[in-house]
Symmetry: C2
Subunit: 299 residues, 2 copies
Amino acid sequence: MFSLPNDVTIIEVGPRDGLQNEKKEVSTEQKLLFIKALQESGIKEMEITSFVSPKWVPQMADAADIVEHVQQQGRQFVLTPNEKGVTRAIEAGVKSVAVFVGVSNSFNLKNINKTTEQSMQELKPIINQLKQQGYFVRACISTAFYCPYEGEINVEDTLALCKEFASWGIDELSVADTIGMANPQESYSLFSYLMREIPNVLMTAHFHDTRKMGLANIYAALLAGVSRFDTSAGGLGGCPFAPGATGNVATEDVVNMLHTMGVQTGIDMNLLCKAVSIIEPSVSRPIETGMYTLYKMEQ
Amino acid sequence: MFSLPNDVTIIEVGPRDGLQNEKKEVSTEQKLLFIKALQESGIKEMEITSFVSPKWVPQMADAADIVEHVQQQGRQFVLTPNEKGVTRAIEAGVKSVAVFVGVSNSFNLKNINKTTEQSMQELKPIINQLKQQGYFVRACISTAFYCPYEGEINVEDTLALCKEFASWGIDELSVADTIGMANPQESYSLFSYLMREIPNVLMTAHFHDTRKMGLANIYAALLAGVSRFDTSAGGLGGCPFAPGATGNVATEDVVNMLHTMGVQTGIDMNLLCKAVSIIEPSVSRPIETGMYTLYKMEQ
């Protein structure tokens, strides 16, 4: 039997990554009920919203409202794409900021109309200032394995980007298989490498379930020593490059796998599924994750 | 990086395990087109039907017709529950027979109204005769990890049952997580143990995806040295104890994971997805596996 970490931290990204591409308009009230229910299930870290242009992501137009009304419990992240977003987030009173950049230049250009280098030049002084003022900074590394335009990503490029962030004193790296193409061998290999090369930053793995390898990749990352995972309640979210496909790996299925392997998360499965049932009527797709399907059968 | 086998054999169980609980009546012609398309995709071993009572499993009433019309290519299994089934199968002209028994007594009683011991007593002379006559015999071990009635199964009980079959000279053991509850640590642990204790029988792993751990369990079984997997095209099938849940782990998603890790299967992904598209109109649930969803988007 392989040894696993005793405890794992789940970073719930449903309210942000899960809902940002949702076509139905989800009310602020519904989002707040969802977030509250997730907190009550025992989730301690969460991406609650993002300060992006409402023109591009109308679903996140209520970011300041969300921040104002969410109960402070554990760590609440907001995602910000640029200086303007960071300023709005800080004015709203956040303590933990997530920034993002793609290893793939083509992806970064499509996503935020900047090269990866331009993004990094812009982020450097922002992060410097955030760290001086005591904020917790998380850097989300998109397309760390594969890019829909460039194909396979060179691990050295991913490492270089992560190292640059680390040199700026950020607290956490969330390294993402954005289009759900990585396999368990690649997951094990990249995370082993990154953790060996960058030992002093919290290392988080972020998988999408497009090709159903999400849990296999998480298992492999656990074997590599990763103990932080981004997941989305109900498997909400979806890669814009694979519309029909499921999105983020589902929190309830990850938590079940962890618990049955004796890994603690501090999360109550029943309350977690209850949180999923709160958001289900607000989204346009039926939720058919493993544990939520079983939960509904028992109701 | 962990070392993996170079080649894996897929035993396609869709036409039997996948369709047996299907509520819509699937015509013999549709089944034959499905099987032919699966063979054309490169699948070499397949459970094509079962000789069970048409009263209990009406979907398999055309077993003799299926056997008569399927092209002999590689290895075609038929599943048989008892002496009567074996006799019918042999009269129909099969060369490879699969028998099944549950490690869990309660499950075996519910399933075929016999204790596990009664099943084994009945099977012993049948298998003895089949082996004397040169048939290939596969033994399917149900509830090898968990039982819906008895909970966790003692690994020693699973081992004892497998060893008894091995002592009768059977060719293959297909060890199943019937209700999709096993986790990757358990998969690794049980298969490592069985392969060490029973080195001279082909060892096959059979996973259901009820809790979405199917691919993770297959990855763990690969690390334990397993190189044969039962899978079902389109993820067809469903555990009768979890009606809404997905059934067998999907062939196309398993094959994709294997191919991207450099493990060969001899199966063509495009032709495999074409086979899924042939059966999709005949089943009552939309097929939403990872690779088939991506395939449909490209059409």
